[in-house]
Structure formats: C-alpha cells, structure tokens
Amino acid sequence: MITLLEARNIGKRFGGLQALSDVSLTIRKGEVYGLIGPNGAGKTTFFNVLTGAYTPDGGEFVFNGSLLPTGKPHKVVGRGIARTFQNIRLFRDLTALENVMAGHHIRTKAGVWGVLTQNRFTREEERLTTERAFELLRYVGIQRFADVVSKNLSYGDQRRLEIARALATEPQLLALDEPAAGMNATETGQLKQLIQQIRHDGITVMLIEHDVKLVMGLCDRVAVLDFGKKIAEDVPAVVQKDDAVIAAYLGGGKHAH
C-alpha cells in the first residue's frame, strides 16, 4: 500500500485549549479513512489545519512524498486536497453549475488578457470548464438542477453540490466533514453509494462522521480522536471493541479503567 498522506505530530492550540496534540496518522492511497470522536475532539480542527485554513503550532504533513505548505489553502488545493464543510458553504447566489465551475478555478489558467480578448485558448477552456462541471453534476446526480441558484436547492442536493464542487478541483484526497449530517436514511444510503463510487474512481476519501453505521460500513480504517489526541487507529471492527474508544464515547474517561 502506498502512503498518500502522512500527518506527523500535528499540534494546534487555541489560547488555553489544546485542540490537537501530537496527532500522527497515515492515509493510504485508495482507501476510505474515517476520523471519528466525540464532539469537540478536534476532528474539524484537524481538517482545518490539513487544508491550510489554520496554521499548525507543530508538526507537518507529507502528501505524495513531499511537505505540504501550511496556512496556504489555495496551494493545498493545488496539490490535490479538496474539502467540504460541516455546515454547508456554497456560493449561495451562484447556480449549481456555476458553483462547480468556480471549483474548477485552480485547474484553469485564463488571465485578464485572455478573458478580455476572448482568444481561442480562453474560449476552449471556458467550454471545457462548463462541460466538466456538467459531468460532475451528473456524477452526483443533480444535473437537472444545473440552472438553479444553489441557495434554493434542497438540503441533500446542497450536500451533493458541495461534493461536486470539491471534485471539480481534481483532488487526490477528498476530505468530507460530516457529509451525512442532517440527512435521512435514504439520503444517507445514496451518499454511501456516492462515496463508494468516488473511491472506486481512484480518489482517496477522508471522512469525519458521527453516523456510526455509515462509518463502519464505509471506512477501511478509522482513527479516533478524543480531547485532541489520537486514541485508536485500526480497521472498524477492532476500533469498535477498543476499551479507550468505548470509554471516550460513553464518557468514562481515563479513570473508568
């Protein structure tokens, strides 16, 4: 198995709160990797540090064999890591199609001069961007709503659109922050299929999720965070039986042993 992402001793502190301490984990190419833990365990902070939204206090990320820049989101995306947000963050006044097209920004090159003169390169790039965006909308199953302003989409479709937008950046690693939050059973089932399809198409997926059934059914390996520390990392079946994990979830803490 080839390692895609290696996090080495990542630390992040907010004032008096140690949100992440010495978190190290490895994600292999082609797997679905789950990141779980109780509320406030530091999962989303880990995502934010990974994708450059926050600068870590310590540690480093090695992605595809070289160091990942910290604190520079657009460079991280350029290297091939895309993310979605826990609370959906679409460009609300843009249509579904335009959202995905915006996601293609980093893979396109047209500059001011090209745009003003509308030279052949720019026109062709624009045509391809539209085409690719439509393909992605079809891929996540919302091509019918291509021309609908995204704030008017249903909740489940907004989630799908956010995934399509992330895929438009052509990532190798897709980081999904609680994609099933607020979904009903049918929608969660469809989401599971979509994630499996994404993995099948060669994109590694990292997943924060509270829906235990989804995590256990989908993930190849799972890491558990509690109070900013990694307390377990293994295949779901093993993690499920881990004492520390059970204690963390049931609220026993260290003293319960």
Partner: protein, 373 residues
C-alpha cells in the same frame, strides 16, 4: 448587453432583438432629443456617460467582488490629474491623448493595488472606513501638493487642459458642415464617450463570464469556501481593485479632457457616495443596474433642478428651497423609497457567470437523456 436587453420593460423578454435595437436607437438619438431642450442637456448626457463608466467600474469592485469601496472617486481623480498634468500648460507638457489614456489607467490601477494591499484582510464596514480614508487622502494630496514644489496647483486646480484629440481630430471643435448646420462638439464627445461605455460593458461582461468573474463571485458569497476550492483570494482582491480602478482612471482622464479643468473639489466624498448610490440604486452586481442607475441618478437631479424653481415660483410666488438643497433631499427620498419598494435595486437581475449558449446546450442534452430513459 444581454442583461441590459432583458431589463427593457415588456419588450426585453418577448423580443430581445427588438429590445436590443431599441437600446441602440435610444443611445444614438439621445443627444438629439436633449438638444431640443438646450445645449446644457447634451452636456448633462455627456456627464451621465462618464458616471456610467464610473458606476460600471465600481460595480466590478462592490457588486462582483463584494468589496465595499467608499473612496472610489480617488481613482477618477488619479486619472483626471494624470491627464491634467501631462496635457496642459501647467508643466508645459502636451503628450498625445492615446499615450495619456493608458497612462491614466495604469496609474489608477497602481493606486488600486496600493489601496488593495493594506485592506486585504478587511471586510464590510472596516473596509468601507479604510477606503473612505483613502479617498480623502488622495483628495487632500491634490489639495496640498502645491508647496514646496507646485505639482497639482492646489485648490486652484489645473486649467486649460488639452481637449481630446483623436489622431489630429480635435473633439472640442464644432464641425461646420454648412452655413446653418454645425455638429456641436458636445455631440462628438457624447459619441466618443458612448463608445468608451460600450467598450467598458463589453470588457466587464467578458470578465464576469470567466474564471475571474466566478472567482470574484465565490469570494463575495463565501470567502472561506472560496479559499477552500483553491482561489487565491489575495490576488483576486488585488485584481478587482486594480481593474475597478482602471475604469475609474479612464473615466477620470476623459473627464479632465472634456472639462478642460480639474480641481480637488470635483473629487469629494460626496462624489464617491453618489457613484455608490448609482450602483445600489440600479441593482448591485449586474451591469444593467450600474448603467441604468448611473443614467437615472445623473439625470434626475438636473431635471428636478430645472423643474423645481419655476414650480415653486408658480406655487408660492418665490423660491422656498434652493435647488441644490432640494437635490439632496429628493435623492435621499428616492433612496428611501427604493429601499422600501425594491430593496435589490431597480434591476434586481441575478448576474450570470456562465455562457447561456453552453448552458442551454447541456440542459437540452440532459432533457433528451432523461426523456430516453
């Protein structure tokens, strides 16, 4: 242009081609109609076109990129002063128009970047305050740069600026065709400015439907998400400031040449607010809104001024309210009514960020596929 066509009441949706020709016809015929009421009205139309250019440029910054700029008139000033300094007896320099115009645009763009850098991390109210300060700084510079070295000639301003000269054709001279038929220079300026506005619309429309326009819109709607999909928000903000300023600079250079005189008082905070009002009044974030807003708000006060004095005289026998006071009063009233009745502007159209052609083609394909199933 498409947005403008769609904004034509009744006709726009039914027959876009006819609406398009109607707009072109009105644009061409406007000065002739205005001439019937007196030459000053053609002059007012010329200024309306300059305001359109300003509104278009500011709309790019405020409407597209979501950066509230209250000092936009500073770029107008930079353009105007560039022209004034390089084509007037003040320094004795008389560079050709085609050289100064890009210079004015470039200096304004540079000023835009200079403003952009320190405000990169600011949003909303904070950004508004800093840009407001920037606008005032530029004006105060113009006001005080006459000592120890006289650069801007201070509050007296710069006089006798060269008129626009297109390859030896002086726009400020009336063309005499026969004894009783001359084409007034105001007409020449009108059509020249009209071309400039049309060019601005074309450029801005192209920017809007491009990866740059989408990046601006993304940044405006959600900056964090824009970063997360790989948009370099720093560069995109600077680009918005620089390009917005360019339009201001070009308009300023045209203003300087047209007016023949520039002084700091033309670039007060009230002017910045007036241009912003035009953008908001017309409908933020769409080209048609900026054009219509500028047109209406540049003309409305003049019409009121013309009507107010005789009306008051017939009603009260004397003038109760000075037209200038009335102007601000009625403008404010217009804005309040606007906020109540049409809070998203006269033309609240949502701007498009992809080609209609591409969209309909793909949507048709989708429909066909679903029909086939």
């Amino acid at each position: 242009m498409n947005e403008l066509v769609a904004a034509v009441p009744w006709l726009g949706k039914r027959n876009p081609t006819a609406a398009r020709w109607l707009i072109i016809l009105i644009a061409i015929a406007a000065p002739f109609i205005a001439w019937q009421f007196g030459r000053s009205w053609v002059r007012i139309l010329d200024f309306a076109l300059l305001y359109m250019m300003l509104a278009l440029g500011l709309n790019l910054v405020v409407g597209f990129a979501g950066l509230l700029d209250l000092g936009y008139i500073a770029f107008y000033a930079v353009g105007a002063y560039t022209f004034a300094l390089l084509a007037s007896p003040h320094f004795g320099i008389h560079l050709p128009f085609w050289l100064i115009l890009p210079l004015g645009a470039a200096f304004a763009a540079l000023a835009g970047i200079m403003l952009g850098f320190p405000v990169l991390r600011l949003r909303g109210d904070y950004l508004a305050i800093v840009t407001l300060g920037f606008g005032e700084i530029v004006r105060i510079f113009m006001l005080n740069l006459n000592y120890p070295v006289n650069i801007t000639n201070g509050p007296q301003g710069i006089n006798m600026i060269d008129p626009i000269n297109l390859f030896g054709w002086d726009l400020s001279r009336n063309i005499r065709i026969s004894e009783d038929f001359t084409i007034n220079s105001l007409f020449l300026y009108y059509y020249f400015f009209l071309i400039a506005v049309a060019g601005s619309i074309l450029f801005i429309q192209r920017l809007q439907i491009s990866r740059i326009g989408r990046a601006w819109a993304a940044m405006r709607d959600d900056e964090l998400a824009a970063k997360a999909i790989g948009i370099n928000t720093r560069n995109m903000k600077l680009l918005a400031f620089a390009l917005g300023a360019t339009f201001g600079g070009v308009a300023g250079a045209l203003f300087g040449a047209f007016q023949g005189f520039v002084s700091p008082e033309s670039f007060s905070l009230m002017e910045s607010i007036a241009v912003l009002t035009m953008v908001v009044f017309g409908g933020m974030g769409n080209i048609a809104g900026a054009v219509v807003g500028a047109f209406v708000l540049a003309l409305l006060p003049e019409i009121l001024r013309d009507v107010a004095v005789p009306l008051q005289q017939t009603l009260f026998g004397h003038v109760l309210l000075d037209p200038e006071v009335l102007r601000m009063l009625l403008l404010s009233l217009a804005m309040i009514l606007m906020m109540l009745l049409r809070p998203s502007g006269m033309i609240p159209a949502r701007a498009r960020y992809c080609h209609d052609k591409h969209l309909s083609q793909h949507l048709n394909n989708t429909l066909k596929q679903e029909g086939a199933k």
